[in-house]
Symmetry: none
Subunit: 205 residues, 4 copies
């Protein structure tokens, strides 16, 4: 009985998250009203407030969730070729992961737009701690493991990750969505070279 109620609640929340995301991706955050979300999710407007404080609260959860899914999917894709990947150099491992994520984003431009506009490093770390859904992965930990497995030591790994993430996310936004200044494919060689250089800067000799 109580389980049924709990399950019902979970479904409602899930429905709100799902439909809100769809609206955010297609109409944009500002243009989506709470009424829109509730209607699309098939619940009453008041119900929204039983599950979320406001639209910003909902957005934060979604951002963390979607970023997590993106990462998880990248790792799953790589998993199929895992043995090979595990034998790669740390640099190459990173490039592989990044390339995988960029390919995902290229095929879901709405998602790229949504994430880029709403994700920042400061929030990024905060979100992982606070707004994560239970199933979400803490991908920072995955990076840490990759770093630990590297053949060499990484100096200031957080700074390195930060630089890479910022460079990748801001350039991909412009190149994938607007082909400005060039397409993502055209910039990839330069981008990946820059990533490699960043890593090398942090490589302890």
């Amino acid at each position: 009985m109580g389980g049924k109620v709990a399950e019902n609640k979970r479904q409602k929340k899930e429905a709100l998250l799902e439909n809100a995301l769809e609206l955010f991706l297609t109409k944009g955050l500002q243009e989506t009203s709470i009424a829109d979300i509730a209607k699309k999710a098939g619940v009453a407007k008041g119900t929204f407030y039983l599950y979320f404080k406001d639209k910003v609260d909902l957005r934060n959860i979604l951002i963390a969730h979607e970023a997590s899914k993106l990462f998880e999917k990248a790792m799953a894709n790589i998993d199929e070729e895992k043995e090979e990947w595990k034998n790669l150099d740390f640099e190459d491992q990173m490039i592989t992961v990044i390339d995988n994520i960029l390919n995902q984003l290229e095929s879901d431009k709405h998602l790229l737009s949504f994430i880029s506009k709403n994700l920042s490093w400061g929030y990024f770390k905060f979100a992982l701690l606070n707004n994560r859904l239970e199933e979400d992965v803490d991908f920072y930990q995955v990076f840490e493991k990759m770093i630990a497995n590297a053949n060499y030591q990484i100096k200031d790994p957080e700074i390195m990750i930060f630089l890479i993430i910022e460079l990748i996310s801001s350039t991909s936004y412009s190149c994938i969505l607007y082909d400005e200044p060039v397409s993502i494919e055209e910039i990839k060689p330069y981008l990946y070279q820059s990533v490699r250089n960043i890593i090398r800067c942090h490589r302890n000799v």
Copy 2:
């Protein structure tokens, strides 16, 4: 005679720009209404629409204007030590300009926030062409001149500038405003090294 009217118009527009910027910086773009701007500028609400199409139009002009001022000021600061700067290597020239701009932004965090949230490369180029006030400098041209004066050739200079700007602007946002993951001073060595590496990638041997 007619000059009086023209002067009056210039003042009104200036007042609107000035006060709008102040509101955008303190309250944020979304939270600032056109009524707010008009009131603060001491003009009627309708007057706003004589000078700008809407808030977005005004924002675009401001972004280009402020970015231009930032750059101009950096160059002016450098000018005092011009002889020295002119003799520097291209890499060092770039770092000097960047460092100057970062220092300005560090002392005007509201401006940093406003520019970072609203400036993107695609828009950046567009803005310089379309929304520039007459006095604004086309700083892309200044970069081109610097590149032309370099001792070596630069391959794909637009891509290089793009990568540098994106890296600098997104990292500075987080480091200056939130000290995340570290303060701007702490990250500068890494950042500048990354910039140097990016430049080297584009250096034709």
Copy 3:
């Protein structure tokens, strides 16, 4: 329980309709704002939009409603002398109904003005089908019944009704409201003769 809410809604809608009509009749359609209507009806401005799409939507419903009431009242008035009326010739029946309606309009000039300015045949038929409140009568059906009961056949009855309605409504507007070119009483003999002639044109021998 739920009936209370429903009753409340009915009252709100009724209040809006009632007060909107009064404003339309006294101030005119253009000069009445939605804020006026809401205020007079004692509800919040936003409430208006829970019940009507916009002012035009409300107007359409009102027109159909008032026209319906006019007709219903005419039939009710006639009902008192029903036996006599039923024995009348079709021509005389029509004149009786028309005269009844004209008398009503003469004593409610605002209503006449409102209806005349906003009712047209094309809309008239549409309104009866779409914007009718549930209680409204479909008076076109009443005409059809009268025609069916006539001693003779009527050719193209819709055209006949159309001609009569247009003639009556446009002339009564001028005569009742402005006594131009003559008072309604003075024109009635001519008007009714014209109606009779129109009917005769459609009488199949």
Copy 4:
């Protein structure tokens, strides 16, 4: 010199009238602002007020003017076959004029819409006296002449004209613009028969 100024003024007024009409016909009266009119006429907004009190004033002049032109054109068309027309019966003369006007309106539906929505008998007479441009014809006088030339006497000619005008104008609006309830061609036989009957009612034996 002074003549030049006067000519200039006439041109300005003419430009305002002409362009206002075009806007009223295409965009509608409500939707046309004084700014629109001034801009299209190539004069300053303030200039409008030198020639007209407000939009209603301008509209009134236009209505009278356009109605006059309609009538004048009808008479000009008939003029070509004048001899024949002069020998016609009064009834047939009227029908000829009406048919001519209806044909004009059928080929200029915007004009029909504009006139129908804004012309009423009460205003009609007033307009002829007050808002007429100098060149406008007083078509009521033409009717009077036609009546005077009839073989028989007409009782209450003003009422007769009134009934005819109201019947024609209100039915043509619906039939020409919306084909409701039938097209203008389909209704013409009935309409003209009704007109003949109205005339016969006013024919003194």
